[in-house]
């Protein structure tokens, strides 16, 4: 049984297609993050799961039951919003029990739930305050509390941390993680922040233009991006995508960057090509993350190359250095203790066990 299943879901506002044939499944207890740039349809998808937005095509199942036409209140979900959406005229207690009261829950049960949740979230002493008397973090906590008291099957979070300042955001992120570890309730979480997505999700679904680009564990998304969009979107700075061609020589395949004579041999024992394709002269992007370009040789297979350093950005514990690789910019990440001389060639080592290759025309991983 899947806790949540979305089947061939399409949604359009007028003539704009917001979601195109979305298919998604979540197992019990998973934490799914919908990640994507603004306007990619992730919030619309969440609103559809909640029942706040109608569907044009497709179905939504909760516990294998088709809820496509079920009212939000009867879907057994709870939602936490970016603006917290606490009812301004009610105090914290009234805010938290409003839903239970609507559902005609018995007084004893309401009291019991309220006590349990307010102790758990440590909002016990705030119960008589109005939302306007709370700090941002406290409001967020109450909003989560309001969702918790309903004991939903699925928690929906719509960018819950983006209104908080940087420090509080990290704190609340950890609390949400802890919350999930304790309660083990299924969560669908929308964000545009990749750090949030990586640290919270057991699964991440990356969306762009209303299409899911990749849906997998954070590790796979990071190490084996499906296409150049995912490769570019995840990681800071993002993956280097070097333009060039594949060259096949008997059963050795190597990469030659545009305008360069150096050929990088692809380690066939280490790189699994997804598809059987014609390799020779194929135009591709050679993807390598900045942290996999080393200053010293660390691995026997490392590819050595001499490149000129153009720019160094110091960011505390590390530095990001821009190199020129036959007129393509390449970023590398080093510890900030290393002294780099500008405008001078130096030896670099590409760790070839962490590369990704993408077809230039389809932008898909090969």
């Amino acid at each position: 049984m899947k806790t949540l299943k979305i089947e061939d879901l399409s949604k359009n506002f007028g003539s704009t297609e917001v979601l195109k044939k979305i298919n998604l499944e979540i197992d019990e207890g998973n934490f799914l993050v919908l990640l994507g740039p603004s306007g990619c349809g992730k919030s619309t998808l969440l609103n559809i799961i909640a029942g706040l937005e109608t569907i044009n095509e497709g179905n939504v199942y909760i516990d294998d039951y088709n809820v496509s036409k079920v009212e939000p209140k009867d879907r057994n979900i709870a939602m936490v919003f970016q603006s917290y959406a606490l009812y301004p005229s009610m105090n914290v207690k009234e805010n938290m029990v409003f839903g239970l009261k609507q559902a005609k829950t018995s007084k004893e049960k309401i009291e019991e739930q309220l006590k349990k949740v307010s102790t758990f979230l440590q909002v016990g002493e705030l119960l008589n305050r109005k939302p306007s008397q709370l700090s941002g973090g406290q409001r967020q906590r109450v909003a989560i509390g309001r969702a918790l008291v309903r004991e939903p099957r699925i928690f929906l979070f719509d960018e819950p941390l983006s209104n908080l300042d940087a420090k509080l955001r990290v704190e609340m992120r950890r609390e949400i993680k802890k919350l999930h570890q304790t309660l083990k309730t299924t969560v669908v979480y929308v964000t545009h922040d990749q750090t949030e997505a990586m640290s919270l999700g057991t699964k991440i679904a990356i969306m762009n233009h209303g299409v899911i680009q990749q849906n997998d564990t954070p590790e796979i998304i990071y190490n084996k991006p499906n296409n150049t969009f995912v490769a570019d979107f995840i990681g800071s700075p993002s993956m280097n995508l070097i333009k060039g061609n594949l060259v096949q020589n008997s059963n050795k395949i190597s990469f030659v960057a545009e305008g360069s004579d150096n050929s990088i041999q692809i380690p066939m024992n280490n790189y699994n090509f997804d598809k059987k394709i014609e390799f020779n002269n194929k135009e591709i992007y050679f993807g390598i993350r900045p942290e996999h370009i080393h200053f010293k040789k660390s691995n026997e297979n490392d590819f050595e190359i001499k490149l000129r350093a153009d720019l160094s950005e110091y960011i505390g514990h590390e530095q990001i250095v821009t190199f020129n690789y036959s007129n393509q910019e390449i970023l590398a990440k080093f510890a900030s203790t290393i002294k780099i001389q500008m405008n001078k060639e130096m030896s670099l080592y590409f760790d070839l066990s962490h590369i990704s290759l993408f077809d230039k025309s389809s932008k898909e991983r090969i």
Binding site: L52, A85, Y87, P88
Partner: protein
């Protein structure tokens, strides 16, 4: 810093102090001038209403009455006591109250409801409806007199207070809707979504979530509508006569129909009586009025 520089700074400081002082006094002078220009008519009205006719004839506009004489107020409010042709304000004052209270309450409520729907339950073509409602704000009074007279006749409520109530409700809806729509548009839609997930329906969300935070805009709307309806003369004069007339019409009849001598003291007292209710509303709700006009989003 050299001694010279300090001296020149001191001189500059002195100069700017003098300049500021002169400007400030000039500012007060202008303000007082304008304030008196506006207060002067009120002063004349109040002073005149307490004078006897003898005093009015002998003194100037500005002279104070010899003693506080409430007689003209009594006449304005309750009449002289003889039967025919005695016009006084009391019955018409109550007419106006009976007209203004339901008209304000109903038009404010409908405006709130419409504003709520237009912002929180958007539907296809809703912005067109809002646009047409806005046109309602710009239709001149005169343009609707004839159609409205026909309508009231058709409904069988012409020349009645109920008829006036209906006219004012209909004419007020564009304004009240505009106020509430602009207020609710700044309230985050997530609030409505949260309430829907919590299981609240259309009316529950309106009464439990939105209305309790609408106090500022309710005050603005009530003041606006009260002033408009209470001070209206044209609709009153057109759609009612005789016993059903509101106070502004009665005031007009009273002042214009005095025979032989013009009783300025009674006229002034009547005019003040007719204006008092709006003053009371302003004084009671004035500070909310400013706050409501300037308040944007309700955060929280």
């Amino acid at each position: 810093m050299s001694v010279n520089a300090i001296a020149s700074y001191k001189q500059l400081e002195q100069q700017s102090k003098v300049k500021n002082l002169i400007l400030r006094w000039f500012l007060y002078f202008i303000l007082i001038l304008f304030a008196s220009y506006f207060i002067f008519p009120l002063y004349v009205m109040i002073v005149t209403s307490f004078k006897t006719m003898e005093e009015i004839r002998q003194g100037t506009l500005l002279t104070l009455p010899g003693e506080l004489n409430f007689k003209s107020w009594a006449v304005a409010w309750g009449g002289r006591g003889y039967g025919a042709g005695d016009t006084f304000l009391r019955p018409y004052f109550w007419n106006s109250i009976k007209m203004v209270v339901p008209a304000v309450v109903v038009s404010t409520f409908i405006g709130a409801m419409t504003g709520y729907v237009l912002t929180k339950w958007r539907f296809k073509g809703d912005s067109w409806i809002f646009l047409f409602l806005l046109f309602g704000c710009f239709i001149p009074f005169q343009a609707i007199l004839l159609p409205m007279a026909r309508t009231l006749g058709f409904l069988g409520i012409s020349n009645s207070i109920l008829g006036l109530v209906v006219v004012h409700i209909v004419y007020g809806i564009p304004f009240t809707t505009l106020f509430f729509r602009n207020y609710y548009v700044s309230i985050p839609n997530e609030l409505i979504k949260a309430a829907r997930i919590d299981g609240a329906g259309f009316f529950k969300i309106f009464f439990k979530i939105l209305l309790p935070i609408s106090a500022p805009i309710i005050v603005v709307t009530v003041i606006w509508q009260f002033t408009q309806i209470w001070n209206d003369f044209l609709f009153g004069a057109t759609f009612s006569f005789g016993k059903a007339a509101p106070i502004q019409v009665a005031l007009n009849n009273m002042v214009l129909s005095s025979t032989s001598v013009k009783e300025y003291n009674v006229d002034m007292a009547s005019a003040i009586i007719a204006g008092i209710p709006t003053l009371i509303v302003y004084v009671l709700a004035g500070k909310y009025f400013i706050r409501g006009l300037t308040s944007g989003a309700v955060k929280g």
